[in-house]
Amino acid sequence: MSTDRGIGLLEGRVALITGGAAGIGLGIATAMAREGAAVVLAARRIENGEPAAEALRDAGHRALCVRCDVTSRSDLESAVATTIDRFDRLDCFVHNAVGGSAAPGPLEEVDDGWLGLLATTVRASFDAAQVAHPHLAAAGGSFLLLTSAAGMEGSANLPVYAMVKASQRALAKSLSREWGPDGIRVNCIAPVARTPAMERAYRANPELEERLLGRTPLRRIGDPTGDIGPVAVFLAGDLARFVTGQTIVVDGGGFLGL
């Protein structure tokens, strides 16, 4: 892992990232750490998250892993409590984790396995918002949700994934209006990045990568740390102090519908 450092855009700040052990979550955590933030990687399996946190610490960053199944409200409460106990504040809560069954297929064949997807995205966003709110208000912080262009354009392959990702955008907009007077900003990132989940999707659907690249003007798939992370840094920091209720699509220009 690179030990390079940024220019201190998040110096003194503290961020908690769900799904922080790998993929986009780890990319965001790494980018934030390089800009000076203390980062808490909330991971469902500590054995996955702790090596990532250790690598960040070895690179000279402040990092911690907490075990957190986002479908458990008490786990979210515990993760936030540990963050406050260890770092005294919470400036940015990033809800990135997504789980449950979202296998591609016809709507008619969606079974109750999708309720896990609903729990990790929609319910966890609700629980995380309630748990994080007082700390974000105290810090004048921000709440960041990871969504998807599928939620804006619909999906022929992942209809319920599109539904939950769209719903998170509307939650962000409503919260931006409710929490603005508290000094809390709420935004979304809709990324496309090369992650373990994306690699699995490529293996299941070999044509997917070619189709994605074909509609992407920048002709590549994003890197979690180098491409997605800096946008999260921007939204979490003072440069975005007047930005709230927005979705930034970070996908090389593949979706241009906003």
Binding site: V110, F126, P159, A162, S167, L171, L175, E178
Partner: protein, 217 residues
Amino acid sequence: MGTRTLLCGVGSLSDDLIARLRARGHLVEAVDPSVLVARADAGSAVDAVAGSLGAVDLVVHVLAAPDGPTPLVDLSTDAWVAACEDPMVGALHLLQACRSHLGAGSRIVHVVPTSAMGGAPGFAATSTAAEGLRALNKSVARQWGADRITTAVVAVAPELLLGPAASSAGGALTGPALGHTGGADDLAGIVDALASPDAAFTTGSTIVADGGTWMAP
């Protein structure tokens, strides 16, 4: 024969819409959204309505909304589930139950508040569900279009579904260009037009029917 319409909704807007559609010649049977959360119950209810109508040409799902505004931080989990998660689960079950009754030329319409697109303080849960339904509508358009089943969303002024407390929730600088936010009279004609074969080349789109308040794309 009139358009055979299955309408799922509860509340005054749904009731008025049923009356106006019947006045336009639709054969309308209602499904109570409270039965949709259980997949089997949704199937039974839809099968009964489809049996009564003979077939279904038009499905209208009016998003049910809770009473009164509540800040998200004060919302109980049960209230969140009722206002956000159950409507999304129910929308999925309704579509799954309807699929076998829908043929070429049929139309699915979701009626949601414009707060799906703009958010609404105090109504985060319903707005969250509403945007979920809008995306579901688009995905169904993509999946079922090959069978010439089309979809649309009609986005209405928030107060029509969320009550008077939502009247300023849209965050608009100005009021509706047409001077009022409308009602079932205004919406029935749009829904009726969407059911027409003349409208069959639009699918997955959102028609904002709020008198000209929300004008974002």
